[in-house]
Amino acid sequence: MTGNITLLGYGLAAIGPGIGIGLIWAAVISGSARQPEAKGMLQTTAFIGTALTEALAILGLVFYLIA
């Protein structure tokens, strides 16, 4: 079996953002269950939060590609 070990690094880098995005959307779901009228505002904020969290995984992917 051959391959590039940097791919493992990307796999590790994706763990944190995975957990983070899960936490963000869990909070959005419970928040909009309690207060359905705030759903739109929560989602807008959550998309920004998701984008910021996801950046770490994207950085990992780019570092894998250039390594």
């Binding site: 998309f47 984008a51 992917l61 780019v62």
Partner: protein, 275 residues
């Protein structure tokens, strides 16, 4: 399977020799069409054609639609108004604030429509190349956003000193003050533009590679590998590829939205009075 053949002529040609499966690499994204002289690094590529075509389509759509507006909107005017309304109200007004958002709406609408069309070009039949998966495209757009939010902040916060002062929120004890300043400085000038460009680039590159793996794998299993079981797996892989195409559409729209949204967030930071 002409779909796959159109998608990557180079790989389809080399993979049809009956050999082992060649996984797609990032080399598939460099597809020069017209080269100049012997210089291999400077060429009109497939992505540059897609960018020019999408820019022409957007220009044609908005100019001709806004040229003859009527009280009872036609179908095209309706779509144009929906797009404008979405960017103006949901992204511009809600994020930047009702006081300052107006000068930035043209920029945001241009960013949104250009990125959206260039992303969706990845799954439009016969085009099938997301030009945002070449780093140059998100990089230039990010450069524009970078200049806009920094110049706006310099104007609004009374010069460089005011801008740098505004990076640290008031009420932080001295000592930690400096630490926060360094972190904020790196965030504003390095991390923000870097992640803005890399997010769009990485998402589009990874998404397109995923589609390539699915469709090239399906093609290989169906036509090259022996055995009925493999052909069954090829059918499953093809169905998975079709499913992934719809998933990709979602990602593409979402990334266009997120890029514009974050540009608006950075501009909102620049125009706000306090931190």
């Amino acid at each position: 399977m002409s779909l796959t053949l159109i998608q990557v002529p180079a790989v389809a040609a080399s993979g049809g020799g009956g050999g082992s499966f060649e996984t797609p690499t990032t080399a598939e994204f460099w597809q020069p069409l017209i080269t100049f002289g012997g210089n291999e690094n400077f060429a009109i590529t497939r992505s540059s054609i897609v960018v020019l075509a999408t820019a022409a389509v957007i220009g044609w759509f908005f100019v001709t639609t806004s040229g003859r507006l009527s009280l009872v909107p036609s179908r095209r005017q309706y779509y144009a108004e929906q797009a404008y309304d979405f960017v103006r109200n949901t992204i511009g007004r809600d994020v930047i604030g009702a006081k300052d958002f107006k000068p930035f709406v043209p920029l945001l609408l241009t960013l949104f429509s250009l990125i959206l069309l260039n992303n969706v070009a990845g799954i439009i039949p016969f085009v099938q190349f997301p030009s945002s998966s070449r780093i140059a495209f998100p990089l230039v757009l990010t450069l524009i956003v970078y200049v806009v939010y920094n110049v706006t902040a310099l104007k609004r916060k009374h010069g460089l000193i005011g801008y740098l002062k505004s990076l640290v929120p008031p009420g932080i004890p001295p000592g930690i003050n400096i630490l926060v300043f360094v972190i904020e400085l790196a965030t504003y000038f390095i991390i923000r533009p870097l992640t803005l460009a890399l997010r769009l680039f990485g998402n589009m590159l990874a998404g397109h590679m995923l589609l390539l793996v699915f469709f090239l794998g399906a093609e290989y299993l169906l036509f090259t590998s022996p055995g009925l079981g493999m052909k069954g797996a090829g059918v499953v892989a093809f169905a998975g590829g079709v499913l992934m195409t719809f998933f990709e559409l979602l990602i593409e729209v979402l990334q266009a939205f997120i890029f514009t949204m974050l540009a608006a967030v950075y501009i909102a930071d620049a125009v706000s009075e306090h931190h």
